[in-house]
Symmetry: C2
Subunit: 298 residues, 2 copies
């Protein structure tokens, strides 16, 4: 309760900052590409909790990274996150009509535009990272691109989504379900946190701590999501719930039960916060985000 | 006829080099992501003329860029090209069953895997470029990423595909059709050629010449494609033909007629070759590619 109260103004501030920058990033063109840009704007502006952008900014704050630059990395990660949602919602994938409380892109426009919208957002993410406005050191830019590409590709998010497709006709055990989630959502959360270390050009020791924090946070986040799926309310969540259950998919809740899943998430959050021991009050926001991860939306 | 005879061994050599590297880039994993990797390998290995990879290598040869490094850029561009084909073939887009003489990815697997295959290939393209094996100078890597992201995003290829969707229910005039093609296919061809200048770290004057060559070549290439669509044979082309006609889409042939289109393509090729005037025999391959562009597949 404390954590989410503490976090609310931070999330609101980041949402506003991100929306303003997306608005500037995607002016509507006066040509036949207009509907694509409308769909891109619809998908990225004014929705979502902006947890990933907040993680980027919180991690960048540890090393005094310029806020405007940190926000560019935040935009890139949110672009990748939203692109994956737009594709994931397609009829051939999860077939969702509702996302962030609004009709999905393929519902408002059509499937072809939804495919192109996702593709476009993905491309722009790399354009944003590789621009020198994101960092004056080209090594940092190229490192950011490399890590984002890995986190979103077949050895990261897309690979996790493939495992998720297979989960529809196989029953995965706990290690495989953990691996699925580490790829599907953990890799991008990991990059969000690690980007602070890349932008701040810190050594491998510090980077390892942040990696540890991100790994535990990512899993806790997913367990909380599975709990929300069972216990939550579709209207509050802004998306369809209880879909995994109906499909017989393994989730942390189906594998562990509600109580053990909740205890596991709490333990992971303690572990995540432990990784931040070397840091002082400058890491308080990362600590608050971790606590928030398991109490949101209930 | 001369040009294509001259070019055949070069195209065969590049196809072999590209296939060998794709094979190494995508080992099949022993986990539930296996089918995704199978689909990625199916899409990228052993198909296509490999015109874009050849353009990269030919442009890199102008500036004595290390061949292995040039091939990494070639892989990245081919990955983006193939990703766009896999998504373009989806039922919600062009709905094609045949590509490069084989059933399309969504036919062999399904639509969900085809979406993820395209997404994955796109991510890997950036991973390949940002790796220091592509260039030791991080500025070059970050420049390559920036230009590829622009060429493939909403201001490039994806934007052109959006215009192509709109073309199904509007009749575009010649300038709009030209713009459509410059985005849809020209931007990536432009990047293929320009990448030589980026890898070779040459000045803006030289880069401008290559840009000019690529712009004229890209358009000629597209006009040749439109001619092939009207006059060609589906079996030789390895894909469905005469689709634009059936949909009432504007093409260079519908706007100009066969004869004027052919003359226009020939003029563009002369222009493209003129841009290479400052170069000696090291540009002969680029000249041969230009000539080949308008005589292929007939």
């Amino acid at each position: 309760m404390q954590a989410s109260l503490h976090l609310k103004p931070a999330l609101e501030a980041i949402s506003e900052a991100v929306d303003a920058r997306f608005d500037r990033l995607f002016p509507l063109p006066e040509d036949p590409r207009r509907r694509l840009y409308e769909a891109m704007r619809y998908a990225v502006i004014g929705g979502g909790k902006r947890m990933r952008p907040l993680l980027v900014v919180a991690a960048c704050d540890l090393f005094n990274v310029d806020r405007e630059r940190a926000l560019r990395v935040a935009l890139a990660i949110e672009l990748v996150h939203v692109y994956s949602l737009v594709h994931d919602d397609l009829p051939c994938m999860d077939d969702d009509d509702l996302r962030r409380g609004k009709p999905t892109v393929h519902k408002v426009w059509d499937e072809a535009i939804a495919v192109l919208t996702g593709d476009s957002l993905f491309a722009v993410a790399f354009e944003v990272l590789a621009d020198d406005a994101t960092h004056e050191d080209p090594f940092v830019r190229s490192e950011l691109v490399l890590e984002l590409a890995r986190a979103s590709g077949p050895a990261g998010m897309a690979g996790g989504q493939m495992m998720d497709l297979e989960a529809e006709h196989t029953t995965f055990d706990l290690p495989t379900t953990t691996r699925l989630q580490q790829l599907k959502t953990g890799a991008l959360i990991g990059f969000a946190v690690e980007s602070g270390a890349i932008m701040g050009k810190v050594g491998p020791q510090t980077r390892l701590k942040l990696k540890g924090y991100a790994r535990d946070l990512g899993l806790a986040f997913q367990i909380a999501d599975d709990l929300l799926d069972v216990e939550g309310d579709a209207e509050t969540a802004g998306k369809a719930l209880r879909k995994d259950e109906g499909r017989g998919k393994s989730t942390f809740v189906s594998l562990l039960g509600v109580e053990r899943a909740r205890r596991q998430a709490a333990m992971l959050i303690d572990q995540a916060i432990d990784h931040l021991q070397g840091f002082g009050p400058e890491a308080d926001l990362l600590r608050a985000i971790a606590r928030f991860a398991i109490e949101r939306d209930r």
